[in-house]
């Protein structure tokens, strides 16, 4: 039997008081506890009374036992909690909570603006999601009796991807634990001692000089604004969050993408997807929004007229492709299918190839040597075309890409493709078949790869390409017993389709430049 606040509650042996209380909707304030991390017992906010024990016990580490009688709210507990919280706030800028105008300010003032130093009022990157503010509300906190102390630590902006302002740190140790216990990296540790204790790297090295993988897990668990992802810190609360699978390699990591104003503004590992908690890499964690929101995206179909590429509509572009296909024998036509396509798009490409009796299907850069060998005249590429001048036999190039990759300037038709965050479908990864969700709309006229193929097929009067959704394509694949395959893209592959990620993401460039001497970049 377990009694909390006079009520008998169901419980399981081995769980902590905090876990049982949460299961039963009993509120106990916490700051250092985190569901993904081993309990730590540092913030001392979760102090409760256990009948028969002298003093207070912390709920996050005390395991429940049969016959336990727990009190989570009493005057004495409140006094202790308030006092401890007051101590935390005496070292954390708190005017956003304590100011007499705070309520008005939250309601009427605009969101945060870019500012170097966080004064605690309206410039904190974490203001909207700050866990201190939640506890402050719960405890109805209004004053601090202790003198305030600002630590005057320099704001660390010398690393790519994330900024660190340890003046906001409350020493909850979540980042330290996620780095040590989840990632097994131990890059972030507690340094110094006594009141000077702080979180940081050993010997205060910049992260880029350590073995930090920039997985960003520390940023995700930080309850304050101490750690913040540089590119997403100014967006306040996202409008929505959508889960999808990362396509940048075969690992198949699940992400939750923050969407604000119709744009991807940030991402973090999907908390629902526990099996993939670890191993999130820097490409997925930090690069995607910058990469895919890039201004260099292809937005309109273009066709070449008078040696120049002119924007056009899809009907004209598709007709142009159909015309090229009809003017050349299938043996002189080749398709270059990118490993970054979803399974359905990949299937439609093979289907149209077989309908048109095109047998030259390239899947890697090495396959491109066949162009000269077989005297290919038409190349339909979904991954750019590097070293174009090597291929003398080519007469027509059709480029279906997300970015203006190599070969763009010599293409006869440009077909702007949607990125994988802009389409729905499935992808075969090391974890099996996983879904890809449409998170945001593709820019301007850019279209999903499979839709482009279907358009061309219709233009060629081919039957069997009238799909409205990818689920229909999946149905057909299933009927025919066609299974997707992993494409053999390693985690450390540095491109997305034909474009180097570093070319579009400056922070990523900094990372690979700084670590080019190393065997492993992260």
């Amino acid at each position: 039997m377990l009694v909390i606040n006079g009520n008998q509650v169901p419980y399981e042996e081995g769980k902590t008081i905090l876990e049982i209380a949460r299961e039963n909707d009993i509120y106990i304030p916490t700051l250092c506890a985190h569901e993904r991390l081993p309990s730590f017992g540092a913030c001392r906010m979760c102090m409760v009374k256990v009948h028969g024990n002298k003093g207070f016990m912390n709920a996050c580490t005390t395991k429940v036992k049969d016959g336990m009688v727990v009190t989570t709210e009493s005057l004495e507990i409140k006094r202790l909690r308030r006092s401890i919280f007051e101590l935390i706030l005496s070292e954390h800028p708190s005017s956003c909570m304590m100011c007499a105008q705070a309520e008005h300010c939250d309601k009427f003032n605009s969101g945060i603006m870019k500012a170097g130093v966080i004064t605690g009022c309206n410039t904190c990157p974490n203001k909207e999601t700050c866990e201190l503010r939640k506890i402050s509300d719960a405890l109805n906190f209004k004053t601090i009796r202790f003198p305030m102390f600002y630590k005057h630590l320099p704001i660390e902006r010398n690393d790519p991807f994330f900024d660190r302002d340890y003046n906001l740190c409350i020493h909850c140790g979540r980042c330290v634990r996620v780095c040590q216990d989840v990632e097994g990296a131990s890059i972030l540790v507690f340094t110094h001692r006594g009141h000077d204790t702080k979180v940081g790297t050993s010997f205060e090295k910049p992260h880029i000089e350590t073995d930090c993988k920039f997985c960003g897990q520390c940023v995700d668990v930080c309850p304050t604004g101490a750690l913040s992802a540089r590119n997403q810190k100014w967006y306040e609360t996202p409008d929505e969050q959508v889960s999808t699978t990362c396509l940048l390699c075969d690992k198949g990591c699940r992400f939750q993408i923050d969407v604000k104003w119709g744009r991807m503004v940030g991402m973090r590992p999907d908390p629902e997807y526990k099996t993939l908690e670890t191993g999130i890499c820097v490409k997925g964690r930090f690069c995607l929004p910058v990469l895919l929101n890039n201004m260099d995206r292809l937005r309109f179909p273009r066709i070449r007229r008078n040696f120049k590429l002119y924007p056009t509509n899809w009907d004209e572009a598709a007709a142009k492709v159909a015309e090229i296909f009809e003017n050349y024998p299938p043996s002189k036509i080749a398709l270059y299918i990118s490993p970054f396509l979803i399974d359905e798009a990949d299937y439609l490409f093979t289907k149209i190839a077989s309908d048109l009796e095109i047998t030259n299907i390239f899947r890697s850069k090495e396959d491109l040597t066949n162009i000269n060998k077989k005297g290919i005249k038409v190349l339909y590429t979904t991954e750019g075309l590097p070293n174009l001048d090597k291929y003398k036999s080519l007469e027509k190039i059709i480029l279906q890409e997300v970015f203006s990759a190599d070969g763009h300037d010599f293409a006869d038709v440009i077909l702007p493709a949607a990125a994988f965050t802009e389409e729905t479908g499935t992808i075969t990864t090391n974890h099996g078949i996983m879904t890809v969700e449409k998170v945001v709309k593709a820019p301007d006229l850019a279209l999903e790869d499979w839709k482009i193929v279907a358009k061309i097929a219709q233009e060629l009067d081919l039957s069997g390409f009238k799909f409205i959704e990818t689920s229909e394509i999946q149905g057909e694949m299933k009927r025919l017993g066609i299974k997707g395959k992993t494409r053999g893209v390693e985690e450390h592959y540095l491109k997305y389709r034909g474009t180097a990620i570093a070319d579009k993401v400056p922070d990523f460039k900094i990372l690979i430049e700084a670590r080019k001497e190393r065997d492993k970049l992260w």
């Binding site: 101590l87 540790v189 009141h195």
Partner: protein, 625 residues
């Protein structure tokens, strides 16, 4: 391997021959304390002398009275050893020459004799006023034997306890320790036998025993002296403990600032292995056990058992929440016993003697003896061992000889920075676990700091808090932030900037830190503040309300002034003042400029006429131009 009895026989023969040999023997107290006092040059001098006069020089541990260091003992065949105190190199040579060559024992310079026989005019060392009220059980061998020589320890009934233990069932060993009533000497006083029992009863077969030698309290040196004087006793206790709980590996966690202690341990462990007292199949009993030494890197908090375990595992020395207790999940997640040096040092005696022999010392709940380091403003400082339940009066006035310069006795601080300040009114209370807890202090490891009337309690509390907040591991909020706030408040009060509301804040902080902290360090950190606030509230009030420091220690609250009538105009103060704040003509009273004075105290300490007074700042109206 030779059997134990032969080993002991040999050892006894070697010990006896030391006393029967023709060559005189010099015993030099060469523990860290003796070295600090300057024994090493003395030894050098005597070594030089031994080239002329045949001599054996043996380095022994600390015998107790620090204020008499450096101490040497001279023994000639058939006579007891004569101890001489405060010896300097040249003087030591004279002492030896006079005694050995001229046969003049110089009773006026001796402090006592050790051993059988009597020398005219010299009392037995055991009758010395500092020694006669002590009961030396743990410290029995300290200062007597050569700690680096296992034969000396064996000759003193060493390893008899282990031999007996190995002949018993482990449960019976635990039973015997429980019967003795031995409680943890590291501070909390948890019954040792019970701790062993809990650990033994854990199902996990792999178990560990740790000797906590991370003594860190300011003013405490009991453990260091014991290790340096008698390392085998501690290690024997460890082997017995390991046998009792079923451990096959033990760790000695010793702070790196104790290099001599570590050296003593290393030598002792090597000797034990050589004699079959450690390693595989100890004394042919089938029991195997090994000890590793881990050096602490200088963090006070690593004396806390969970932080100590983290440190051994190579992690940052941060405590973790208990339960699980180390007896359930200790080092490497296995059941672990952690005992203090003194606890382990006591175990061999308990096994060797009858239980009733040990329980005859002490009180009902606190059995046996306890070592204390008696320091501060007391005449006779040093390492002492008394039965638990001895009164403070006996310790301070009989053993300690009273307050230095016969000043007023104000209080004692027991148990280091985690302990409490006990005022002079409780002079007839006793030193034992229960009584100290009742008074708001703790036994701690046993540091006793005597405080006289010249000490300001606010300043004292400030000192301990400064130490604690610097040594906090920084993990939990109440300790890391609370102690800093508490310290800031005390600094504010000591500067005369306090106000009446600060009392409430002090008490609120003390409550939050003691109730909210994670480990023992934080939980006990406000003790000096709580006890001084309880017993010396008026002194706090003087600081806060009257802006006066009654003891004239808080520099912001008093001024130096020359008493014109006492001043002889010798000009010493004027010449010595580092900032030129003093003016005055020869043979005329001098004057101190308040604004220039930096309160370095140089004038006051150097004034031959004692004419420099400290006056309350509030009593002077400073006219500034």
């Amino acid at each position: 391997m030779i059997d134990f009895d032969t080993m002991v026989k040999k050892a006894k023969a070697s010990w006896n021959s030391l006393h029967d040999q023709k060559k005189p023997v010099i015993f030099a107290g060469a523990a860290s304390c003796g070295r600090a006092a300057g024994i090493l040059p003395v030894i050098e001098q005597l070594k030089e002398l031994s080239k002329k006069i045949p001599l054996d020089i043996i380095e022994v541990g600390c015998i107790g009275p620090c204020y008499l260091e450096p101490i040497i003992g001279i023994q000639i065949k058939g006579e007891p050893t004569i101890l001489y105190a405060n010896v300097q190199p040249i003087q030591a040579q004279e002492l030896v020459e006079n005694y050995l060559v001229k046969n003049d024992p110089q009773p006026d310079k001796a402090i006592g004799t050790i051993g059988e026989g009597k020398i005219e005019g010299i009392q037995s060392f055991w009758e010395h006023p500092m020694i006669k009220d002590q009961v030396r059980i743990v410290l029995k061998n300290c200062g007597i034997i050569d700690p680096a020589n296992i034969n000396h320890y064996l000759a003193m009934d060493g390893y008899q306890g282990l031999k007996q233990a190995l002949a018993m069932k482990p449960e019976d060993v635990i039973e015997k320790v429980q019967e003795s009533g031995l409680r943890g000497r590291g501070g909390a006083g948890f019954p040792t036998g019970l701790k062993w029992k809990f650990t033994r009863s854990e199902k996990e077969p792999e178990k560990y025993i740790i000797c906590n030698a991370d003594e860190g309290d300011p003013g405490a040196f009991m453990n260091r002296s014991l290790i340096e004087g008698d390392p085998h006793a501690v290690l024997e206790g460890m082997v017995i403990g390991a046998y009792a709980i079923g451990a096959s590996t033990g760790y000695v966690y010793c702070r790196a600032e104790y290099p001599l202690a570590i050296d003593r341990f290393e030598k002792a462990i090597a000797a034990m292995k050589k004699h079959g007292l450690l390693g595989e199949n100890i004394l042919n009993s089938g029991f195997s056990f090994d000890i590793q030494i881990k050096k602490g890197a200088g963090a006070f908090v690593c004396g806390e058992e969970t932080a100590l375990i983290a440190s051994i595992e190579g992690e940052r020395g941060m405590p973790r929440q208990k339960p699980p207790y180390p007896s359930q999940e200790g080092v490497w997640g296995k059941p672990t016993v952690i005992n203090n040096v003194e606890t382990l040092g006591t175990v061999p005696v308990i096994l060797r003697e009858k239980s009733s022999w040990y329980t005859k010392y002490g009180t009902k709940q606190s059995k046996g003896t306890k070592t204390f380091s008696l320091v501060g403003k007391v005449k006779r400082t040093g390492l002492i061992e008394v039965p638990l339940g001895t009164t403070l009066r006996k310790v301070i006035f009989d053993i300690g000889g009273g307050i230095k310069e016969d000043k007023g006795f104000k209080a004692i601080q027991v148990g280091g920075p985690s302990g409490g300040t006990i005022p002079s009114a409780f002079i007839d209370e006793t030193l034992d676990y229960e009584e100290l807890t009742k008074l708001g202090a703790i036994m701690g490891s046993g540091g006793v700091v005597v405080i006289d009337e010249d000490t300001c309690v606010v300043d004292l509390a400030k000192y301990f808090l400064q130490f604690i907040q610097a040594e906090s591991c920084g993990k939990c909020v109440p300790c890391r932030v609370g102690n800093k706030q508490l310290l800031d408040l005390l600094v504010k009060i000591s500067k005369g900037l306090g106000n009446i509301d600060d009392f409430e804040l002090l008490e609120e902080l003390a409550f939050t830190i003691s109730q909210g902290s994670l480990c023992g360090l934080g939980k006990t950190a406000p003790n000096p503040v709580i006890t001084t606030l309880t017993y010396f509230r008026d002194e706090y009030k003087a600081h806060v309300i009257d802006k006066i420091c009654p003891a004239k220690v808080c520099k912001d609250l008093f001024l130096y002034q020359v008493d014109a009538e006492t001043c002889i105009g010798c000009e010493i103060c004027r010449k010595r003042c580092p900032v030129g704040a003093i003016t005055g003509e020869k043979k005329q009273p001098h004057v101190i400029d308040f604004e220039k004075c930096i309160k370095c105290d140089v004038c006051s300490t150097n004034c031959p006429a004692k004419a420099i007074r400290k006056i309350d700042k509030v009593s002077v109206k400073i006219v500034s131009n």
